[in-house]
């Protein structure tokens, strides 16, 4: 099965993007990792339905897809909050107080590592180096970086996202728009 137009669980735009992506590589399965990332951006996580459709598009078994996905910590099998807060605790950030930041966030959001707030707005995660060592400590919220942090700055960042979440709710926007 090459095109899954008929029953795709993805948006028409993403579906079309996948159709093109599959043709780009000499071996179909080379499209696997980008596909999983894009699918995760749209759906939020790699659900069984996502895995199934990707497997079908690439002529792989679902087991194959899971095996590759489980290798990468940035690919996930469970939903996260609307804003996924990833706190780097690798060496540079750690030396510059990452654990204070992490604990501060735990307290502030009332959740621990891999937790999701009750309203589903935030999730928290401790991660390895995110490549911002020179402005450590740093966090990544979805695809945005916030660096050179202090607890106060973190409060501002969180407040900003909370406000954004409120506005989005009012407008009925989708989470990852």
């Amino acid at each position: 099965m090459s095109s899954a137009e008929t029953m795709s669980i993805f948006s028409p735009a993403l579906s079309a993007r996948f159709d093109a992506l599959v043709l780009k590589y000499p071996v179909k399965r080379s499209a696997l990792i980008p596909m999983m990332l894009y699918a995760q951006d749209e759906v939020g996580y790699l659900s069984d339905a996502v895995i199934e459709e990707i497997a079908q598009r690439l002529d792989l078994t679902m087991l194959d897809v899971r095996n590759v996905a489980s290798y990468y910590s940035m690919l996930r099998f469970k939903p996260v909050g609307k804003y996924n807060v990833q706190v780097c605790t690798n060496i540079s950030c750690m030396l510059r107080g990452a654990y204070d930041i992490f604990e501060h966030l735990e307290e502030k959001l009332g959740i621990g590592h891999k937790g999701i707030t009750a309203d589903g707005v935030f999730s928290l995660e401790e991660v390895e180096c995110i490549g911002v060592c020179c402005w450590a400590p740093a966090i990544q919220v979805n695809y945005d970086f916030h660096d050179d942090l202090t607890n106060d700055k973190v409060d501002e960042v969180i407040a900003a996202y909370r406000a954004k979440a409120g506005r989005a709710d009012a407008k009925g926007e989708s989470a990852n728009a």
Partner: protein, 817 residues
């Protein structure tokens, strides 16, 4: 590839260029440790155990991926290498529990061996081990994660070898783990190949786990009792109160026709021997009409008296022709041979048959006179091109399917499939032709050049062109072909050069049953009873009138026209749907291992030994003959061979004429052995005579030597000795070899545990008779977990069958932790 010369540990070795160093070393007797390397599967280079030092190369190299070339110099053992391997093992043991004392693999574990060899039992790690409880993945397969060393053998075995792809690796680094396709369970063919390939005890089987240790078993290589492929299987056997039980089936020495392959049936399907439904006492129907346990002596007496009485009766419903005999698809060749000889010479009837699952008679008839045209199972692993017509190897001939896949992977064999319903092997096929269900005969016509024969089937012409373009071809066809259809297909192939044939049939010895003359019109070796040739002299009282087929016998029995039915290892009442009540008037004797539908209505039931409890030979559907050895033992049962001999004896038959054993009636004067030297004076003893039943003193030879002496002369000419016991099935094998033209055996090979191919080309063309009735063929179509009556009584297979049926809808779940 040209040979190259290179040096390993100071020794000059020669091997074809491109050979893997590890293989070249193994052949030269230099063992290089390896965990992930597995011959026949793709290279992984995951474990780094096989590291060696190659001159002029800065880093240690993996011998499992290094190919040899001219002038290379290697060192395979040195303090440096030892240190590297020791470090590797230390890492592998990072999460390993070292629970060898309770592990199934303990005693035959590659990791254990290497840990001892390199002394890496101690660890510098202080971190806690990553522990996980063992998981049951299916009724057959268990996974004990901490023992896994992530060698990927199971993953490759399942994917490449089995083409099932049910195993993968999830996660990363020290939390990496083997993951089954169902999330927490396996949806697969349950072959257990992954368990066998696992170098450690991470994958274990339900049948064997925690039962015993390898050194507490006897290991007996015999032949699988299930399908017609005839895998060699090594049974692990242990003493128990009432005999010896089988605790494990595998193919540990990989020496047989099946190399490293076994399917679920061969590996797990042996618990029927211990089934509580097993018959263990002879039963005789008493006055009240119920089957009552009796002694063997009594049962044999009842049977032999009654059979003798009927045979000798001069009434209308008496005489040999009023007795019918039906033989087995799983008994040995010797038993089947003896059974028909017993029927024909002692009972005096040609009413002898078996439930035919395959039309071997028509096949051999088509092949008669054409040598080297019948394929051995081994050919399926090497043939450059294979045409598979009908049949479903993956389900019904797992070893054949394995061989075809292997051939495809290793030699890029070209596979052409013509089938009426989709089969899994199409994944390996170069071209597939979809035929209508009734289209097989038309296919032959089409292949032979009749363009209109197949009507408008897509690709038919390109398919034919490709097949015809092959310089050599192995034609494998299924039970869709019978009678004249076989003849025309074989005729098409024989017209071309380098075409070989194989015909797919069911059960461990269906081919043998047909070869040994379990048929009313054909003697052993397909010699017609109407023109018995040598058999006229060999078999006293042989009638040249063909007898009744099995269904005819049952019908005659129901009409009250058959006085007795003697049935060995067969359940015709169930197979032919006969009304049990209608058989009341006949005296029915059944020899079987279970109380089958037929046994339940018998007057005498004799508990027989299964194939795993006796010795002899069997012939697979390809005509490969193999030695069966006695593995298990069950108190109370007897092999069919012995039962037959005892009944013949009870009937007053001359047993020496039935089974050529022992010395003859004319005694040879005892000759005293001469003293070898003055110092050594041996006790005078008679030199045993090699002569036959009528001691031939050497005056006569060949045609003049008298009936039994022919056998003795034949034996003497081959340097063989007479068998000493009437219960020795090999005595019958001697006679088979002497009288059946297609069974010219290479004994050395046979007794060494190898397969020996029979040659239907040796069947004399003169012996051709009209084809047998094709409608008599009842294919069994047993699948991966069924095996006729045996399968119904094998718990492991029944469980696997219902398990696989219940998960036909695979459950999707998140990756294992």
């Amino acid at each position: 590839m040209p040979d190259v010369t290179f040096t390993v540990d100071g020794k000059k070795l020669t091997a074809p260029a491109g050979t893997l160093l590890i293989e070249a070393c193994r052949k030269a007797g230099i063992e290089i440790p390896a965990f992930c390397y597995y011959p026949g599967l793709s290279l992984q280079a995951a474990c780094r155990m096989c590291v060696v030092r190659q001159e002029k190369v800065p880093k240690l190299q993996t011998a499992c991926t290094t190919t040899v070339a001219e002038g290379q110099v290697f060192t395979t053992e040195s303090p440096e290498i030892t240190q590297a391997r020791k470090a590797t093992i230390e890492l592998l043991l990072g999460n390993h529990p070292l629970d060898c004392p309770v592990c199934d693999a303990g005693g035959e574990c590659e990791l254990q061996d290497m840990t001892f060899r390199y002394g890496a039992g101690e660890s510098l790690y202080t971190e806690a081990k990553n522990h996980r409880e063992e998981q049951k993945w299916s009724p057959a397969v268990y996974f004990d994660r901490p023992r896994c060393i992530l060698c990927y053998r199971c993953v490759r075995m399942c994917g490449e070898g089995m083409d099932v792809w049910a195993l993968g690796i999830a996660n990363r680094g020290s939390s990496a783990i083997i993951a089954p396709n169902g999330g927490d369970h396996l949806d697969c063919e349950q072959c257990g190949m992954c368990i066998d390939a696992c170098p450690v005890g991470a994958l274990t089987s339900d049948t064997y786990r925690y039962k015993t240790r390898p050194w507490e078993m006897n290991h007996v290589s015999t032949v699988c009792t299930h399908c017609g492929d005839g895998c060699k299987v090594t049974l692990g056997v242990r003493q128990v109160d009432d005999g010896a039980e089988i605790v494990r089936g595998d193919n540990r020495d990989k020496s047989g026709i099946n190399g490293d392959f076994l399917c679920a049936k061969g590996r797990f399907g042996f618990d029927f021997v211990d089934s509580k439904d097993r018959l263990t006492k002879p039963l005789v129907r008493n006055a009240a009409g119920t089957l009552e346990p009796v002694t063997w002596e009594h049962a044999i007496r009842v049977v032999s008296n009654k059979l003798k009485e009927i045979r000798d009766s001069k009434t209308e419903n008496g005489g040999g022709s009023s007795i019918g005999v039906i033989g087995s698809n799983t008994g040995t060749n010797e038993e089947n041979y003896l059974l028909q000889k017993f029927a024909r010479t002692v009972l005096g009837t040609n009413n002898i048959d078996h439930i035919r699952t395959t039309d071997y008679a028509a096949f051999v008839r088509a092949m008669a006179g054409h040598e080297h045209r019948a394929a051995s199972l081994r050919d399926t692993e090497t043939a450059k091109a294979i045409l598979l017509i009908g049949g479903n190897p993956t389900e019904e001939h797992p070893l054949l399917a394995w061989n075809i896949r292997t051939n495809f992977r290793h030699n890029t064999a070209r596979l052409y499939i013509a089938t009426d319903s989709p089969i899994k092997l199409e994944r390996q096929a170069r071209q597939t032709l979809s035929l209508p269900v009734e289209g097989y005969e038309s296919l032959t016509a089409f292949l032979s050049g009749d363009d209109s024969a197949l009507g408008e089937i897509e690709n038919a012409k390109t398919f034919r062109e490709a097949v015809n373009a092959e310089e050599s071809l192995l034609v494998i066809f299924g039970q869709e072909f019978r009678g004249a259809a076989i003849e025309s297909l074989v005729k098409w192939g024989l017209a071309k050069e380098n075409v070989k044939f194989a015909y797919l049939g069911d059960y461990a010895n269906s081919r043998g049953a047909a070869d040994m003359g379990l048929s009313p019109d054909l003697l052993p070796g397909y010699i017609p009873v109407t023109t018995p040739g040598a058999f006229a002299e060999e078999y006293p009282n042989l009638s040249t009138q063909p007898g009744m087929t099995a269904p005819e016998m049952l019908d005659a029995g129901c009409r009250g026209e058959l006085a007795a039915l003697y049935i060995v290892g067969s359940d015709p009442v169930t197979a032919y749907g006969t009304d049990p009540a209608a058989l009341k008037r006949a005296f029915v004797v059944v020899q079987d291992i279970f109380l089958t539908g037929t046994a339940a209505l018998a007057d005498v039931v004799l508990p027989a030994a299964s194939l795993y409890e006796k010795a002899g030979t069997v012939t697979n559907t390809f005509g490969d003959i193999q030695l069966v050895k006695k593995a298990a033992d069950k108190a109370g049962v007897k092999p069919d061979f012995e039962i037959l001999v005892r009944i013949a004896g009870g009937m007053g038959a001359d047993v020496k004429k039935l089974v050529p054993f022992g010395r003859g009636s004319i005694t040879v004067p005892a000759v005293t052995a001469p003293a070898l030297s003055v110092d050594f004076v041996p006790t005078p003893r008679p030199i045993p005579s090699l002569r036959g039943i009528h001691g031939d003193l050497g005056q006569s030879r060949g045609a003049h030597s008298g009936e039994a002496d022919r056998h003795a002369v034949w034996l003497a000419a081959r340097g063989l000795e007479l068998r000493l016991s009437p219960f020795d099935p090999l005595a019958a094998l001697d006679e088979i070899e002497r009288l059946v033209p297609s069974y010219k055996l290479d004994r050395l090979n046979l007794f060494a545990g190898n397969d020996v191919h029979s040659e239907p080309g040796f069947v004399p063309v003169a012996s051709l008779t009209a084809p047998t009735a094709a409608e008599l063929i009842l294919p069994a179509h047993d699948g991966l977990f069924t095996s006729g009556v045996l399968g119904d009584h094998t718990k492991a297979l029944v469980e696997l069958n219902s398990y696989q049926e219940s998960i036909s809808q695979p459950v999707a779940e998140a990756a294992a932790d």
